[in-house]
């Protein structure tokens, strides 16, 4: 059988990215939308690590930075979600309209 090429990893990462975008655009629950964003970040990480096999270790360093950013984003996003839920008693994105007038 053929060896695993970078293309294999790019296909998996593209699938994860597309599924994450679909989740962000179609789901109503804010928690699921945040999880879809994590899926997108994971796809980027897989690309970075796959290319780091060709171009050197810098890609893995950047994937660690992306993981750190994902942690910060999840903490802030879920904090906003808790603060919002306290006001409106809902987690649906289409009912988040406090800034609309």
């Amino acid at each position: 059988m053929a060896p695993i090429t970078t293309l294999h990893y790019l296909v998996v990462a593209a699938a994860l990215f597309v599924l994450g975008v679909v989740g962000v655009l179609t789901r109503r629950n804010v928690v699921v939308v945040l999880m879809s964003i994590e899926l997108i970040l994971n796809a980027v990480n897989l690309n970075l690590v796959a290319f780091s096999r060709i171009w050197g270790l810098q890609g893995q360093i950047f994937s660690i930075f992306v993981i750190t950013d994902a942690a910060a984003e999840a903490a802030v996003g879920l904090g906003i979600l808790i603060a919002f839920f306290r006001n409106k008693e809902t987690v649906n994105v289409d009912e988040v309209d406090l800034l609309k007038w």
């Binding site: 293309l7 629950n29 999880m35 780091s52 903490a75 879920l78 808790i82």
Partner: protein, 173 residues
């Protein structure tokens, strides 16, 4: 041979878990399938020779971040998501857009398919090399990231703290 079958198996688990995340109606099921996606991604990192990133993926992503998600789902006690009718414009514009996007991705991937393949483990991502890069070449971004995490922690504490708690404490004292 063995590597390719392991890759295909865990790649399939990745895609299936991501699809399951979208299909499930209850957020706790979505969170559990996202954990499955992350663990199988860690195996893919191991196949790439990135041992440190695989360990970080399991510990931070599948451990810390997903525990945060599950905790918030439990705290909000959000039930099954109810479906609504999608808009007609989204169907008209979205399906051709999705087809064009997939065709574009497939074209780029096939056009660039000549990217070389390196044997598994020929570029090991040992913690020693990672640390050398992280604390020498990328020292400034590393420190900036620490400031970012500090700001994120403070923001999360400020956002999640109860607005009435300060006034109540003043009344009690």
């Amino acid at each position: 041979m063995l590597h390719l079958s392991i890759f295909l198996f865990f790649g399939a688990i990745c895609a299936a878990g991501a699809v399951n995340l979208l299909v499930q109606r209850h957020p706790i099921n979505s969170a559990l399938s996202l954990i499955a996606v992350m663990v199988s991604l860690a195996v893919e990192y191991l196949l790439l020779g990135a041992e440190f990133v695989a360990a970080v993926q399991v510990i931070i992503y599948a451990g810390a971040i997903m525990v945060l998600f599950v905790f918030v789902i439990m705290l909000l006690n959000a039930g099954v998501e109810e479906r609504i009718e999608g808009s007609r414009v989204a169907m008209i514009l979205g399906i051709p857009g999705m087809l064009v996007g997939s065709a574009l991705v497939a074209w780029v991937l096939l056009e660039r398919s000549g990217t070389s393949s390196v044997a598994v483990g020929s570029l090991p991502g040992y913690p020693k090399e990672i640390a050398g890069l992280l604390f020498h070449d990328f020292l400034l971004p590393f420190e900036v990231t620490s400031v970012l995490v500090l700001i994120a922690i403070m923001g999360a504490v400020v956002l999640a703290s109860h607005p009435d708690s300060e006034t109540q404490q003043k009344k009690e004292s």
